[in-house]
């Protein structure tokens, strides 16, 4: 949209608005404007949490309590269906469900909040020109901030659990934890990319969000959270790689449950899905965002 830009000390001084022949606007100015306004995304995330009282003490407790209770429900479900194993397996199963759910929730929050960010930010879109990708980006930041406190909760559960079940297979401190930042980053990228995709869809079809609730539920069951990746054999392993979060959640299990570094194929799979989600979602979003103002 903004064409040749001179002296961009504040807001680009001379701007030229021309019809877009190409699907994408010039990307360099787009990302420059995006970067310049990154404080907007972080503040918006903070204010959105504030509006939902998530900055209060109980709000934070709720953020952790919600996935924790769900994890307990799923844990009961899984152990009842599978029958009682040894007690050692019990803690491993719980640990796997916990860390899997926490991580999955991070991605799900990115996507569901991001999908609504454009339709909910309609008034801002009608009044001001700015790179629209900042809105789903803000949802991703917010989802990340909600995800962070769940990690200490997981560690707490495992440390306490180990006191009761000292023979458990859940690992203590290992070098493989150094993979955690990579895993979180990949989940965030995949989540942001899919948020861009569904945010665009939601502008055209306002019930996308309803569909998303079913989709994420099914997606949860298809992901290695309630079951472990090692339970799959032969061509069934394909199920991991066809799932955008499959490889990265497997890497998560490797690191947190098996205490080993993820395999190369798992790492490549995670990288592939993160790049694919960002490129595909980004293209879909940015090529259509100039349409949003007339469709909101």
């Amino acid at each position: 949209m903004p064409g040749p830009v001179k002296n961009s000390d504040f807001v680009s001084k001379i701007q030229v608005f021309e019809p877009h022949k190409a699907a994408l606007p010039p990307l360099v100015p787009y990302f420059r404007e995006f970067w310049k306004r990154r404080a907007f995304a972080t503040e918006l995330a903070r204010f959105a949490d504030k509006a939902e009282y998530l900055d209060s003490k109980f709000g934070k407790v709720w953020l952790v309590l919600n996935p924790l209770l769900l994890a307990v429900v799923y844990f009961l479900l899984v152990t009842v269906i599978r029958g009682s194993g040894s007690k050692n397996l019990g803690l491993t199963t719980l640990a796997h469900i916990l860390i899997g759910l926490f991580t999955f929730y991070f991605a799900q929050n990115c996507i569901s909040a991001g999908a609504q960010s454009i339709t909910a930010g309609g008034r801002l879109i009608l009044n001001q020109a700015f790179p629209r990708a900042l809105l789903p980006f803000s949802s991703t930041i917010s989802a990340f901030q909600q995800f962070l406190p769940t990690i200490p909760v997981y560690i707490f559960v495992i440390v306490v659990g180990k006191q009761f079940f000292p023979t458990t297979q859940v690992p203590g401190l290992t070098w493989s934890y150094l993979w955690t930042p990579f895993i979180i980053f990949m989940v965030g990228l995949t989540g942001f990319g899919l948020a861009l995709l569904f945010a665009t869809m939601n502008v055209y079809f306002r019930d996308t969000n309803k569909l998303l609730t079913y989709m994420t539920r099914i997606w949860l069951y298809l992901s290695p959270i309630l079951w472990q990746p090692s339970m799959l054999h032969g061509w069934h392993k394909l199920a991991i790689y066809l799932n955008p979060l499959g490889p990265v959640l497997s890497a998560n299990s490797d690191v947190w449950i098996s205490g080993k570094s993820p395999s190369l194929t798992i790492i490549l799979g995670s990288l592939f899905w993160a790049a694919f989600a960002i490129l595909f979602g980004g293209y879909f979003f940015i090529s259509r965002e100039r349409d949003f103002a007339v469709r909101i």
Binding site: Q15, A39, A51, L124, L126, N127, F205, A293
Partner: protein, 259 residues
């Protein structure tokens, strides 16, 4: 583009497609597809071959009936809507007050909304924080309202904050779409004074208003848009007279009775 111009519009046309069907849902789309129906859309030609120069330090008024393309034109100058044909060159920082919602999140306080708006327009955190006091002083809300959620505001208060944000961003070009209807007589007087100040500082203002007295009082030139085309351009009183004649109501006082 000549230095003295703030905005140059060259042969601008804007068309967009709107969906005729009321409910835009996936469910309806699938049902429609199963019946073999096509999506009903309509192309709106909001602006047709408009050419216009706005010099720095001038106040341009835009009049026209509903659906004349006034808001679309304003949005395209702001860079929100891309042109379909032609081009727009803008020289300067733009501040906008275009939609009645003005981008406020009803759950957040007035102050938080001011900060968000500033950051979205590309200001830094420090710049907007320095301005926040000035903006809230100008809006002069009753005690403590600036820190209350915007949903508790009356529509007048809402409009006052929105207007204060737009005029206090030290814009080079200020775009106001029906923004002056907010506030009581004293706030309106204050708004007018602020706009005159902006003009003295060689800033440019474009006003869309149905309050023709406002156009007459503030603008030094005006255009009349009708169904996307510019029918006339000239001195505000002449344009307003022509427009009123066209409306076939004559210069009835009620039209001058201000919003």
């Amino acid at each position: 583009m000549p230095e003295e111009l703030a905005v140059r519009i060259e042969d601008l046309s804007i068309k967009y497609k709107i969906n005729v069907d009321t409910k835009r849902t996936l469910k309806n789309a699938v049902m429609r597809a199963s019946k073999g129906e096509r999506v009903r859309t309509r192309v709106v030609e909001a602006v047709k071959h408009l050419t216009l120069d706005v010099p720095h330090g001038s106040v341009l008024g835009i009049v026209g009936a509903n659906g004349a393309g006034k808001s679309t034109l304003m949005r395209s100058i702001a860079g929100i809507l891309p042109p379909t044909e032609g081009r727009i060159i803008v020289n300067g920082k733009i501040s906008t007050l275009l939609a009645l919602g003005v981008g406020f999140n009803p759950a957040l306080s007035g102050r938080d909304n001011i900060i968000l708006g500033g950051l979205a327009s590309g200001m830094t955190r420090e710049e907007i924080e320095a301005k926040t006091e000035e903006i809230s002083d100008f809006a002069a809300l009753p005690d403590g309202f600036i820190d209350m959620p915007v949903r508790t505001y009356s529509s007048g208060m809402y409009g006052r904050v929105a207007f204060s944000v737009a005029v206090n961003m030290t814009p080079d070009i200020l775009l106001l779409d029906e923004a002056l209807s907010a506030g009581d007589a004293s706030f309106k007087e204050k708004s007018f004074n602020r706009m005159r100040e902006l003009c003295k500082e060689a800033r440019t203002i474009v006003i869309v208003s149905h309050a023709l007295a406002t156009i007459n009082e503030l603008c030094d030139s005006a255009i009349w848009l009708h169904k996307g085309s510019m029918l006339a351009k000239g001195k505000p009183d002449a344009i307003v007279d022509q427009y009123l004649k066209f409306l076939d109501v004559g210069a009835l006082p009620s039209n001058f009775e201000d919003m």
